[in-house]
C-alpha cells in the first residue's frame, strides 16, 4: 500500500467512525429516550383507563401520587443514565439517611388503604414503570450489561425473581433514582404553584 492509499483508507475509516459516532451519541440516544417515554405513556394511559373503569377514584391519593410519579419519570426520562445511577450508588447510604422513604412511603401508605385487588394492580403499574426505567438504564451501558447478567443469574437461580422484569426492578439504586425524580418534580410543582 502506498502512503496515499494508506491515507485514503484511514480517512474512510475516520469518516465511518464519525458517522457511527453521530448515530450512536445523537440519534440513538434520542431514540432511546423517546422509546422509554412511549412505554411510560402507555403505562400511564393504562393507569388512567383503570381509574376510568371505576377501579379507583381519580381523587384517590394512591392514584394521584402514582400518576405524579409517572409524570416525573416522563419529564426526566433523559436523565436516567448509567453515570447518574453510578453516582447514586456511590452516595446511596448518605441519601437514604437524609431522606428515608419520603414520597414513596406516603404512596405505599395510601395504597395499603385500598382493597387487595386494587393494591395489586397499582403495585403492578408501579413495578412496570420501574422495570421500564431500569431496562432503559441497563440497555444503554455495556458495563451494566455484564452487571445485569450476573444479577439476573443470581436472582433467577435463587428464585428471588421469576422474570427479567422483576430483576430490573431489583437493580440497586433504581429506587433512589426514582425518589430523586419525584423530588425534583415536586419542587417544580411547588415553584409553579
Amino acid at each position: 500500500m502506498t502512503p496515499i492509499e494508506h491515507i485514503t483508507a484511514s480517512l474512510h475509516f475516520a469518516l465511518a467512525l464519525f458517522l457511527f459516532w453521530t448515530l450512536c451519541f445523537h440519534y440513538w440516544r434520542r431514540y432511546r429516550v423517546d422509546a422509554l417515554r412511549e412505554r411510560l405513556f402507555q403505562i400511564r394511559g393504562e393507569l388512567f383507563d383503570f381509574a376510568a373503569n371505576g377501579a379507583i377514584s381519580f381523587d384517590d391519593p394512591a392514584y394521584g401520587q402514582l400518576r405524579a410519579v409517572m409524570n416525573g419519570m416522563l419529564r426526566f426520562a433523559h436523565k436516567f443514565t448509567f453515570s447518574r445511577l453510578a453516582m447514586v450508588l456511590v452516595l446511596r447510604k448518605k441519601l437514604e439517611r437524609l431522606h428515608p422513604g419520603g414520597f414513596l412511603a406516603d404512596w405505599g401508605e395510601a395504597v395499603s388503604r385500598l382493597p387487595e385487588g386494587t393494591q395489586k394492580s397499582l403495585r403492578e403499574f408501579h413495578g412496570r414503570m420501574i422495570a421500564a426505567i431500569a431496562w432503559h438504564i441497563v440497555s444503554g451501558s455495556p458495563v451494566l450489561w455484564i452487571f445485569f447478567a450476573c444479577l439476573a443469574f443470581r436472582l433467577l437461580a435463587g428464585g428471588k425473581a421469576g422474570r427479567l422484569e422483576e430483576v430490573s426492578s431489583q437493580l440497586p439504586g433504581v429506587d433512589i433514582v426514582e425518589a430523586q425524580a419525584i423530588n425534583i418534580e415536586l419542587q417544580g410543582s411547588l415553584e409553579c404553584a
Binding site: 502512503p3 491515507i7 423517546d34 405524579a68 419529564r75 443514565t81 453515570s83
Partner: protein, 131 residues
C-alpha cells in the same frame, strides 16, 4: 428545633441531588466528545505524515478519486437510512402533537384535576429541563 433539623437534612439531600445531576450531566456530555476527539486524532495522524508533501486540497481530491463505487453506495445507504429515520421521527412527533390535545381534552372531562408530564406538545424535553 426538630423542624430546623429536618430542613437541614432536606437541604443536604437537595445538595447531593444537585451534585449527582451535575456530575451525571458532565459525564453524559464528556463521553461523546471523547469519542469525537479520538476520531479527530485519527484524521490528524493520517494526514500528518504527508505534512509538507501534499496540500489538503490534494488529499481531498485523491480521497474522492480513490473512493470506489461500492464505498460510495455504502455511504449513500447509511445516509438514506439516517434520513429515513429522521423523517419517521418527525412524522411520529407530528402525530403525537395532533393526538395529544384531543386525548388531554377527553381525559380532563373525566378527571378535571388531571396532572401533566409537562413535556412539550411534541413529547420532547422542555429546554429548561435539559440543563
Amino acid at each position: 428545633m426538630a423542624n430546623a433539623a429536618v430542613r437541614k437534612s432536606e437541604l443536604r439531600y437537595r445538595l447531593y441531588a444537585k451534585i449527582i445531576d451535575a456530575v451525571g450531566s458532565v459525564i453524559q456530555a464528556c463521553i461523546p466528545w471523547a469519542g469525537a476527539v479520538l476520531v479527530a486524532y485519527f484524521v490528524y495522524r493520517s494526514i500528518q505524515s504527508l505534512a509538507g508533501r501534499m496540500t489538503l486540497a490534494d488529499i481531498g481530491i485523491r480521497f474522492l478519486a480513490d473512493t470506489k463505487i461500492s464505498e460510495a453506495f455504502a455511504y449513500l445507504f447509511g445516509a438514506t437510512g439516517i434520513a429515513l429515520g429522521l423523517r419517521r421521527e418527525r412524522l411520529h412527533k407530528d402525530n403525537v402533537q395532533r393526538l395529544t390535545s384531543r386525548i388531554k381534552e377527553l381525559e380532563v372531562r373525566l378527571d378535571p384535576k388531571r396532572s401533566s408530564s409537562r413535556l412539550t406538545p411534541r413529547g420532547e424535553t422542555r429546554p429548561e429541563d435539559k440543563r
